[in-house]
Symmetry: C2
Subunit: 290 residues, 2 copies
């Protein structure tokens, strides 16, 4: 089974928890809307790739780790799209959750997905409690305070924004968690800092590609509104470096990522995969990876 | 150190995670506002009482479990107070989080507190991975789908409300988790269903007391708006049974709870405590326990 099929299967299994009798049906429907159809699934693919490179011995735990990371990402999209933040009417080419289901259910859908991310880990990790403990810690740090994605989003509510902390938290944290979680799911706790750095670099590359997309693509191609960074006065690599400078920066980050893989049995294969993936982020092919 | 002091200390430690350099300062302030000054801390006191009755051997883990339960409760209050739900301007006698900090930070404060609940467990449970795995599962079930507090709140967004599921999820789930988590923190996994039932009964008693409060108290005394059940057309024990009937029902639930404690070394002391606590829920003294 290829990585994407594994990821979709574990996400369907996770969201299916909400389909049990006695669960409010519209919440279940809204959660499904938030998670499917799939986006790029970049983060969980990274988790699976790192676990494979670390000679994974418990694929179900890897799948749970990937699903947890992706559910947390989907939760953040639902809340970020709310009228009090980006007020985005569309996401992945369809109405955003609050447009389709109303604001109350959008708030609760995000909440339920955050919790579900931890539930998924708890269900698959009970037989491997030490790995579970590490994975819960990794997911919590990536999501919460002081420097997870919620903290990243909260920088937008500060009078003075700390740009480095903002970007590291808002995008980098979940990418860094994706790599560290892949290693931890495979029972590899050494080199966590190296895995974290690799994920953070890939996250930065992805953020720069997203900034480029926001000025260089059209909304139909990416399935969400463009020109949002300028409209909301958000920091952007394009605003800082210009379009050509941002493209050069993206290329450099991709090269650095490929060269910074920690020692592991599948290092060469992972390097090839990372080169392929980061090439897809380059303008021209950038829309595929949204 | 008494239970309340232990709980406040662990909550201060948890929220202090947001005070580290590089964390957005207004988010940290809003989280503190949501958690302090203290409400009744009924749920974590229950966790500590059950752990003590189960001869706790790792008080730090008990404290983490109690803090996690209370943080999850605080998160739900912040989101339930939002304009798209109850639109409550005050909470515990002070401006609610969205009034004091704006809607964006209120959404993020709830999110951050949900995540923090899991982070607190992960930090204190690393040395006891089997207990940690159980506690993460208990907290996830109490908070998420299919029947945790988020699912409970989501029933308010359904065209047809399933009353039994709504009440069990919205209030009962976190009380049930409070007792089960107390036992699990003490390494007691047997009788989980008995502990769950005890917590659920206490949760129902608390809900009935809250319904009585909503018609029989004044806003200053309880620090939040009253008359909200009728105003929002929410189900209420008073609407269903009348005021006297609700009071009789509350007394019966309290008696049943005191008689349903699972076998444990500290059963007698726990029974005394539960009788004291449920007596405080009775009208007249009801405001103290809000």
């Amino acid at each position: 089974m290829d990585a994407v099929a594994r990821i979709e299967r574990s996400l369907h299994g996770a969201v299916g928890l909400a389909d049990i009798a006695g669960s409010p049906p519209r919440l279940a429907e809204a959660m499904r809307h938030a998670v499917f159809p799939r986006g790029g699934r970049i983060r969980p693919r990274l988790t699976l790739a790192v676990a494979a490179a670390c000679a994974e011995d418990d694929p179900a735990l890897t799948d749970a780790a990937g699903a947890a990371i992706e559910l947390m990402h989907c939760a953040s999209l639902v809340h970020d799209d709310l009228p009090c933040f980006d007020d985005a009417a569309t996401r992945r080419g369809r109405p955003s959750v609050h447009v389709a289901f109303g604001q109350p259910l959008a708030v609760l859908t995000g909440d339920a997905l955050i919790v579900l991310a931890f539930q998924v880990l708890a269900r698959s990790g009970a037989a491997q409690p030490s790995r579970l403990a590490a994975l819960i810690g990794v997911l919590g740090r990536a999501a919460g305070v002081p420097s997870g994605i919620v903290a990243g989003q909260a920088w937008e509510c500060e009078a003075e924004i700390d740009l480095a902390h903002y970007q590291r938290a808002k995008t980098g944290a979940l990418f860094a968690a994706a790599t560290v979680a892949g290693a931890a799911a495979a029972g590899v706790f050494a080199e966590a800092e190296g895995w974290r750095r690799l994920g953070a670099r890939l996250g930065e590359a992805y953020q720069v590609a997203d900034d480029i997309l926001d000025v260089a693509a059209d909304a139909d191609a990416v399935g969400k509104p463009v020109g949002q960074d300028a409209a909301h006065g958000r920091p952007s690599a394009v605003a800082r470096l210009g379009l050509d400078g941002a493209i050069r920066h993206l290329r450099r980050l991709a090269d650095e990522a490929a060269e910074s893989i920690p020692d592991c049995p599948g290092e060469a294969a992972l390097r090839t995969l990372i080169k392929q993936e980061t090439r897809r982020l380059m303008p021209g092919a950038v829309a595929e990876a949204a």
